[in-house]
């Protein structure tokens, strides 16, 4: 099973960062790679089990299911139902933890999945270095560091 771990520090209190990322249907509002998103069946975006169907700027379509969301612990866990990436059993978590020393936020974005062995390095780099770090970089710009 392949693992991705990417983490960063954003220069804003965790409640402000959480307000930006907690919306499971809100990726286009903060992630530069995502063009549009909708929740299937008209369900609320914080209903556990809801499915987001979103399109990347490169045209790829992905469907993901919300598995866990906690406003108390500030994490969001989801799985991929359908994607062109060639991954199986993909589960990812985005987690926020306060940095008390200086009112910053520590963000961790992790994923685990199965894939063809020869594609593992490429997928880990694309997901970690591309998608996750790309989202972090956008958040750092939005919050000024």
């Amino acid at each position: 099973m392949a693992r991705v771990y990417v983490s960063t520090v954003v220069n804003a209190r965790n409640d402000r960062v959480w307000a930006r990322v907690r919306d499971f249907n809100g990726l286009p509002n903060w992630h530069p790679a995502i063009a549009e998103s909708r929740i299937e069946g008209g369900e609320p975006a914080d209903k556990i089990g809801c499915v987001r169907d979103f399109r990347l700027r490169n045209g790829d379509r992905i469907r993901e299911k919300l598995l866990g969301l906690s406003d108390y612990d500030m994490f969001c866990t989801y799985s991929i139902l359908e994607s062109p990436m060639g991954v199986e059993n993909y589960v990812a978590t985005l987690r926020l933890t306060p940095v008390t020393d200086g009112d910053q936020t520590f963000l961790e974005w992790t994923a685990e999945f199965d894939c063809a062995p020869e594609r593992e390095t490429e997928l880990v780099n694309n997901i970690g270095g591309g998608v996750f770090q790309g989202g972090f970089d956008a958040l750092k710009r939005a919050f000024g560091g």
Partner: protein
Amino acid sequence: MPHVVKSTIVDAPTERVWDVLRDFNGHDRWHPAVASSAIERAQAADKIGCVRRFKLKDGSELREQLLALSDLEQTFSYCLLDTPIPMFNYVAHVRLLPVTDGDRTFWHWESRFTTRPADAAAITKMVAEDIYQGGFDAIRRHLKEAA
């Protein structure tokens, strides 16, 4: 039950910070509040269950026991056995996590304990500021001097 949570970012890889923190008998070399420390019964400082007996700069003596230590997770937990101040059931957890964006360290230090209601605010502040925040600042200086 008072719950103290403090965290910081250290501008060094987790291995360097862990190298200093994992020594349960090494806090007298970096923490400004600790004057001297020894492990009882000449046990190894990374033996689970070992007890460190240490003196603070103000002369008070404390005993703490190592409950858990993981080089894989870069975590350790310990409890307070004896202290001259009215703190009971004190259990603390230290956890390091890598900040991959910049090769830095997220350091999380938290504890719970019981005390007399009248003492809770003052002891909580002492643990949070003098021990934990003071420790964060000291490690930064310590790593700078070692570099």
